[in-house]
């Protein structure tokens, strides 16, 4: 059932590209703001790059997460979806995995303009950075799907989502930025491994919370 639901999410997104395009367009717009509001000095940008990157990701993801239930809400299809004999936890997992995929694709598309516009040098090793970004995505979307589900049927869902999401993901944001600083500024692994532990703990706790609580969130 999980595969069918995941296929459904990917198929809908492949057809209208709503989530990825909204995140990408918003991300590029924010990147433009960053480029003009910072000093333009590549040295300063290099220092601030990890924080700027995660700010960009979180701002963009809030927009994409809002659209994660957009189709179901717009066409009133959510009632039909939850009327089907599907375990709600599996529904959460499908939303989570598809959300991670959409966010990762957006990051993949935005990373080159990010380095280009801010005049940043490329890091020496790529793989640890990919690992940090993926772990960060797991955490952001784990909470994001829950919050998106909570805000979906609210009157001010577009406002409510970031208001709920940003404070909840503060520990994850701190850990993501710190781990990225460690990797990007080539610090010894022992200095930033603690942050990977915080990220992993966050992912485990909130993905389990999502799996358990999604039943209560989606109940009619």
């Amino acid at each position: 059932m999980f595969t069918i639901l995941l296929k459904k999410e990917l198929f809908v997104e492949f057809r209208n590209k709503e989530v990825v395009l909204s995140m990408l367009a918003f991300g590029v717009a924010v990147l433009l703001i960053f480029s003009f509001s910072l000093s333009g000095d590549p040295k300063i940008n290099h220092e601030m790059a990890p924080g700027l990157f995660w700010t960009l990701v979180i701002l963009s993801s809030s927009l994409g997460l809002h659209r994660l239930f957009g189709q179901e809400k717009d066409f009133d299809a959510f009632a039909s979806l939850i009327a089907a004999p599907i375990d709600r936890g599996t529904l959460y997992l499908a939303k989570w995995v598809s959300g991670i995929m959409f966010l990762t694709v957006t990051e993949f598309l935005i990373i080159m303009p990010f380095f280009l516009f801010l005049g940043l040098s490329l890091p020496i090793t790529i793989l640890p950075g990919i690992g940090i970004v993926l772990l960060g995505n797991l955490g952001i979307v784990a909470v994001g799907v829950i919050v998106s589900g909570l805000a979906m049927r609210a009157k001010m869902s577009a406002v409510l989502l970031p208001v709920l999401l940003f404070p909840l993901i503060t520990p994850l944001l701190i850990a993501c930025v710190k781990a990225t600083i460690g990797w990007y500024h080539v610090l010894p692994f022992s200095q930033w491994q603690f942050w990977l532990l915080i990220m992993a703990t966050y992912v485990v706790i909130f993905s389990l919370a999502g799996y358990i609580f999604f039943d209560h969130i989606t109940e009619e």
């Binding site: 909470v143 829950i146 909570l150 805000a151 049927r153 609210a154 009157k155 001010m156 406002v159 409510l160 208001v163 709920l164 940003f166 404070p167 909840l168 503060t170 520990p171 994850l172 701190i174 850990a175 710190k178 603690f194 942050w195 915080i198 703990t201 966050y202 706790i205 909130f206 919370a209 609580f213 209560h216 969130i217 109940e219």
Partner: protein, 224 residues
Amino acid sequence: MSIQFQDRTANNLLVLTIILMSANLYTIFFVAPMVPEQTWAQKIFYIHVPIAWTGFLSYFIVMVAGILFLLKKDPFWDRLGLAAAEIGTLFIVLVLITGPIWATPIWGRPWVWEPRLTTTLILFLIYVGYFMLRKFGGHPERVARYAAVLGIMAFIDVPLIFYSVKFWAPQFQLHPQVEMGQQPDGIFYPFLFSMITFTILNILMLRIRVRILNFHHQIITNNV
């Protein structure tokens, strides 16, 4: 069904709280000794720490009420959660006001990104979202479920927020690391007395607020 407005337990608790609070203020200002390097600024700790305790206790009650509501579907637990969230937020706002009042003369600036203060601020922001969700979430029965989930998530986020802020900026670890058990009796007993007094105040406020919410529920369901 008629509404029983009289609540003797609440009235007795109110009298007890007034007596205890008066005695508490007298103890803080006239009995507890001055700490030489902090003088009057230290006095705020007899208020600041107990209200922080009652604030976090209230948020703990929100979590427990949330779990019980999701398990039993009894609206009482939702009303208890809402009452505890309101009272907890009131106390947390007071913590965020009294903290900088103490910090200004002692640290030389009203705000530093210290873990306890930062955790309190983030929790307050989560609860701003909680009340927005309560207000704009839609159908009351659905909102009750959403609020229960958010109350649980907010509380399980606390240790993660605390430890991430603690290690985020070690230079801001300025919060007094005091073991109250090792304090002289002149400080320890007034502090303990203040903690008990504010806990009783919290229980009283919770009881009154839950009763008001019960009345409200009875009125809107036309059971009066």
